[in-house]
């Protein structure tokens, strides 16, 4: 494979292959590994939080450490675990679903991964350098300002997230362009698989939400490092401004998290019900509408800030409106299952378990949207229960469904079904045990973010149950890791159409997908392109082009070094060492310069090198 058409390109092996790869499938695996590791870190933090709270007046960790734990748990889970695992599935699946050979910007794709990774590492280094961020994942000022957080913790938050955020924005732009410009012939927008639609809208949300976070983090960084006055009330700054900027990013962010899960669930339920997704167009419409409304509701996080009854009423109504498109989706999934011949694989168990769980999270969401009632729920465990129902019960169950579903396509082996079901039941029961009870804790008045509570308040038993549930979720995760190891060692080899009921283009090619994805770009003749061919009695897709040499982008080490440069620069600025800071930025700009000046000619894979058995000459 090393020989190329016009230009010879160095192909790397082993570790260097992974450090230089621009292949979306490998980048997907990198995202999964890194996101999975951060998921374990965040999970460990959650377990420690629950150990501290299992009985009143416990002293497992100090109050300071508890604050660090809750801050890092939230930040890690959202930015470093959930989003990267979504990016893993996006990378692994989207180009295959739309019949493309690659993403629009393979180099930027690698850059996005490495910036996320080094941003995440930088954030977590704080544990070893004198204290992690401890102002909550929302990092509200003035608590996060230099007066009340004089240590370096919040600096790590501000700079680590900034670097990781660059990667996310790059990824969003990349997938928008990929989906708009690189669909196979015949794949119109209204023939795109639901997961592709979900990622399309998600990417648009990333595009318009993340720059707001960028500005917020810059402002907080300027306040902390260079004594600016954005949030310094003594010099005319405004603390509520941070809340607005944070949530105008933060609310779309929760839809950035949940929309891909909606997409995954749509694919999994449709495949394992062996039925076309019910109400496809309404599903698309609902996704777009949720994406749009997601930008209109940020102030519902600020009902108790004192914006006044008019603002609260408007944001309250706008928030409740989102229940309508979400309800459309729920009913569409139910009607997809209705009358289908359902197979309860592990993937489908997670998908079916998702539906009632997410509905419960949605119902408490509407409860919280009622501004007057929110004054009662605010900052109590009721809120904690609500967002864990939508994020863990929604997004994480969705990710598990997606991982079990697409694992064969990503790695070429079927995950073990017994272990998969064990994962589901322990995680699912553990989840409800942990968080259902927290609704009632909240209604009884237990505030969130407190490191301990007194005996005799009626909180004891419920907290104990919640902690046991958390351990059960931990057990579920261990089952999943066991499954990964067992599968890697002795898993069953997966066929191209691994579930035999594949409906979309990723199942028309071998598992795992070859480097060039499609030997011949397929011709799409309808929604559920592969299913349609099957129903018409065909075994494979009609090719849209003759067999020819395939152009591939060259691997590059530059994305890694650009991100290392930012990582170094982050440290330099944080500790006011401007030589180090400037040096890091110089490294990044040098890499950009090299990239800009040196044309990437890539290389070609010739038809005789294609090892895809399905190819017709």
């Amino acid at each position: 494979m090393a020989h190329a058409h016009a230009h010879t390109v160095k192909r790397y092996k082993g570790l260097m292959d992974w450090l230089t790869t621009v292949d979306h499938k490998k980048i997907g695996i990198l995202y999964l590994i890194a996101g999975g590791l951060f998921f374990l870190v965040g999970g460990l933090e959650a377990i420690m939080i629950r150990i501290q709270l299992w009985k009143p007046l416990n002293n497992f960790v100090s109050a300071d450490t508890f604050n660090e734990l809750i801050t890092m748990h939230g930040t890690t889970m959202i930015f470093l675990a959930a989003m990267p695992m979504l990016f893993a599935l996006m990378n692994a699946v989207i180009p295959l679903q739309i019949g493309a050979r690659d993403v629009a910007f393979p180099f930027l794709n690698a850059l996005g991964f490495w910036t996320f990774f080094f941003g995440g590492v930088l954030l977590n280094v704080s544990w070893f350098t004198g204290g992690a961020p401890d102002a909550g994942w929302t990092s509200y000022v003035p608590l996060a300002g230099s007066t009340y957080s004089s240590e370096y913790g919040v600096d790590y938050y501000v700079i680590g997230l900034q670097i990781a955020g660059i990667g996310t924005l790059i990824g969003g732009i990349n997938f928008l362009v990929t989906i708009i410009n690189m669909r196979a012939p015949g794949m119109t927008f209204m023939r795109m698989p639901m997961f592709t639609w979900a990622i399309f809208i998600t990417s648009a949300l990333i595009l318009f939400a993340f720059p707001a976070l960028t500005v917020g983090l810059v402002a907080l960084m300027f306040d902390r490092l260079f004594d600016a006055n954005f949030f310094n009330v003594a010099n005319g700054g405004n603390a509520v401004l941070w809340e607005h900027i944070f949530w105008i990013f933060g609310h779309p962010e929760v839809y950035i998290l949940i929309l891909p899960a909606f997409g995954i669930i749509s694919e999994v339920i449709s495949t394992f019900s062996r039925k076309r997704l019910f109400g496809y167009s309404s599903m698309v419409f609902a996704t777009v509408l949720i994406g749009f409304l997601g930008f209109m509701v940020w102030a519902h996080h600020m009902f108790t800030t004192g914006l006044g009854p008019v603002a609260n009423a408007l944001f309250s109504i706008a928030t409740m409106l989102i229940a309508v498109p979400t309800g459309i989706k729920i009913f569409n999934w139910l009607f997809t299952m209705w009358g289908g011949s359902i197979k309860f694989t592990s993937a489908n168990l997670f998908a079916v378990g998702f539906i009632p769980t997410f509905v419960m999270g949605g119902v408490t969401g509407v409860m919280l949207a009622a501004a007057p009632a929110d004054f009662q729920y605010h900052d109590s465990y009721f809120v904690v229960a609500h967002f864990h129902y939508v994020i863990v019960g929604g997004l994480i169950l969705g990710i598990f469904a997606g991982l079990h579903y697409w694992w064969p396509k990503m790695f070429g082996r079927m995950l073990n079904e017994t272990l998969g079901k064990l994962t589901f039941w322990t995680f699912f029961i553990g989840f409800h045990m942990t968080f259902l009870i927290q609704h009632f804790l909240g209604l009884l008045g237990m505030p969130r973010r407190i490191y301990t509570y007194l005996d005799g308040l009626g909180f004891n038993e419920m907290n104990l149950i919640s902690t046991i549930g958390a351990f059960l979720m931990g057990l579920g995760t261990i089952f999943f890791i066991t499954n990964i190891i067992v599968t890697a060692v002795s898993g069953k080899k997966a066929a191209g159409d691994a579930w035999e009921d594949g409906r979309t283009l990723e199942w028309t090619i071998p598992s795992p997908a070859p480097e060039y994805n499609f030997a011949q770009t397929p011709l799409v003749r309808g929604y559920d392109a592969y299913w349609k061919e099957k129903m018409d009695g065909h075994k494979e897709m009609t090719p849209a082009e003759p067999l020819g040499s395939i152009h591939m982008p060259s691997p590059s080490i530059l994305p890694l070094f650009m991100s290392i440069g930012l990582f170094i620069a982050g440290f330099g600025f944080m500790y006011h060492n401007y030589f180090v800071g400037g040096g890091g930025l110089a490294l990044t700009f040098l890499c950009m310069l090299i990239r800009s000046l040196k044309d990437d000619h890539g290389f070609h894979i010739e038809p005789d090198e294609l090892h895809d058995k399905g190819v017709k000459a």
Partner: protein
């Protein structure tokens, strides 16, 4: 791939859109500009929220701003947008030398604008309007400074592109870069129009 073998006369009419890579680059850049709109939108919002928070004894916007300097800067930057259009037109006409000429003029205008801005900032600091003076000053320097940094980046970037075109000629690889840098340049011009209105005019009148 065989792009670098092209010579000027053989270029397609819109060389920037001749390849999928080129079309991807242009669409991706438009989307990036969409993100930039939100970035500056947030900076404008922060500035609008804080622009009256001058503090005691510090110069106000009305006292600070000298509209004639700003008007000259505006004139320079808007003219550079025109020369940038000429560069894109020369690109479409396949006239490499004319294109490079217009790009150089654009860069020079950009440098002149930056010189004026640095002079302006130095004046303000001299008059007691430093970065840490007040919420107004912090948000002012952040907003206008972000724009200035964009201009500076644009100057460097277009400078590099001029070098590339000189070295490699006008090809389907270099053409999208020229085109996209033009989009960027117009965008920072549009942002400046808003800065001129929201920061300077409203500072004088509002």
């Amino acid at each position: 791939m065989s792009a670098h073998s092209h010579v000027e006369g053989q270029l397609p009419h819109e060389p920037e859109k001749a390849t999928l890579e080129g079309r991807n680059k242009i669409l991706g850049f438009w989307l990036f500009l969409g993100a930039e709109v939100v970035l500056f939108g947030t900076l404008f919002s922060a500035f609008l929220a804080l622009r009256d928070k001058v503090g005691d004894g510090n110069p106000t916007a009305d006292e600070l701003f000298n509209l004639s300097t700003v008007a000259i800067a505006t004139f320079i930057l808007l003219t550079s947008s025109l020369t940038s259009v000429f560069a894109t037109q020369a690109l479409h006409a396949g006239k490499k030398n004319a294109m490079i000429g217009w790009l150089i003029v654009t860069v020079l205008f950009g440098l002149a604008f930056l010189g004026l801005e640095i002079y302006e900032f130095a004046e303000y600091v001299h008059e007691g309007h430093g970065f840490t003076t007040s919420a107004f000053s912090s948000s002012f320097y952040t907003l206008v400074g972000f724009h200035g940094a964009h201009v500076a980046f644009g100057v460097l970037w277009i400078g590099l592109i001029i070098g590339q075109v000189l070295k490699k000629g006008l090809t389907v690889v270099t053409a999208p870069k020229v085109y996209v840098s033009g989009l960027y340049w117009h965008f920072i011009d549009v942002v400046w129009v808003f800065i001129f209105t929201v920061v300077y005019l409203m500072g004088k009148v509002g």
